[in-house]
Symmetry: C2
Subunit: 192 residues, 2 copies
DNA sequence: CGAGAAAGATGATGTAGGTTAAGAAATGAG
DNA sequence: CTCATTTCTTAACCTACATCATCTTTCTCG
């Protein structure tokens, strides 16, 4: 059951009673996306966060030259959303697209707020989730400031081994912050 | 009173009773730092977060070539800490230093945990704080991926006008991700 | 399974920003 | 106030990575 993946994930941080679990479930809604389908486009207000149970999502921006920049991937067991738009309820900056057929469990912004009131423990859960995400983002900033592209690629391979042979190279290149051409050259160098 | 700055800050996100406010105060400890004094060095476990009421702090890492990279500044009304170390209680990666004589109100990790239990509302406060911080960090990643150094400098000026004529140029250069030499050239170009 | 599209590789050339070095200006401890 | 230290500027040269163009390989969806 996909929802077990989510409940299991949550149980790492907070303990839920059977009652609370059932309240929580009522607030959720499963959503499926076909490859290349979008969860949201920039300029729209983000209305829910999505927990991936199978497949993979990517969130990216498009710069003034039309070049895409990947902010994050969401393989199974990860949450995805346009954080900025979710919390401000203003038009978002991210495009979120399914890289392959993807199953998610979504929690709408309104239900999330209801959940905080019905089961305050979830304040804690999402606080911890956000803290972890913040730390990962801070580390990425430091990496971007202090490492070469090649070193960042090495780190990516180490940190996300499952993603490496799963994603198109150009997506990884974009996440790391180089062009597909340079990425190709880097990889060739690595194989001596 | 410095603590009013903090209470005022908090009241933007949650409402506290007189009772709760007083519990909160009991968990706090004021700490002063002289210019160039360190709150923590990398490799130490971070034991508290600091809310700045006057002065300014900076958090930075040192790369393998000995070059410093500024992750964040904390002027008055901002929190500072090594998030990674605070939540994991493992040796931290940041050096946190006072850029000038600085007054802070600190909340130890242990008191923060007690606070969550004594006044659960603070789960919400710190969740929101962390969410905002996450959004700012995501934006910085996007900026680093998609803008030139000159554009990032422009943004910095717009977003942190008070910091601009307050901080040594080399610190801003480091935050933006360029060398002091290039920063100097950029600034000259701007003045035509 | 086959055609069209997308992804990847490779070479030639361009450029944003780094490095090194040295002098000028600002700053702060005594 | 002053000298030592740190910060800032300028200039010549260098390199990691981008761009552009072309070709090959791999998908994908009818």
């Amino acid at each position: 059951m996909p929802i077990d993946l989510l409940l299991n994930n949550i149980s790492k941080y907070i303990h839920l009673t059977e009652e609370e679990r059932s309240v929580f479930k009522d607030y959720l809604q499963p959503k499926s996306f076909k490859r290349k389908q979008f969860l949201m486009h920039e300029g729209e207000v983000c209305k829910y966060s999505a927990f991936v149970t199978s497949g993979c999502l990517r969130g990216y921006t498009v710069d003034k030259n039309g070049i895409e920049h990947v902010l994050s991937f969401a393989p199974p067991d990860w949450w995805m959303g346009d954080m900025y738009s979710l919390i401000s309820q203003k038009p978002g900056i991210l495009n979120i697209e399914a890289l392959e057929d993807t199953e998610t469990i979504t929690l709408s912004k309104t239900n999330q707020e209801k959940l905080y009131i019905a089961v305050p423990k979830f304040e804690r859960f999402f606080r911890i989730l956000t803290e972890n995400s913040l730390v990962a983002n801070q580390q990425r900033i430091i990496d971007n400031l202090s490492l070469t592209a090649e070193e960042r690629y090495g780190l990516f391979c180490k940190r996300y081994p499952t993603l490496i042979d799963h994603l198109p190279h150009k997506q990884i290149a974009s996440y790391i912050g180089v062009t597909p051409e340079f990425f190709s050259r880097m990889r060739n160098r690595r194989l001596h």
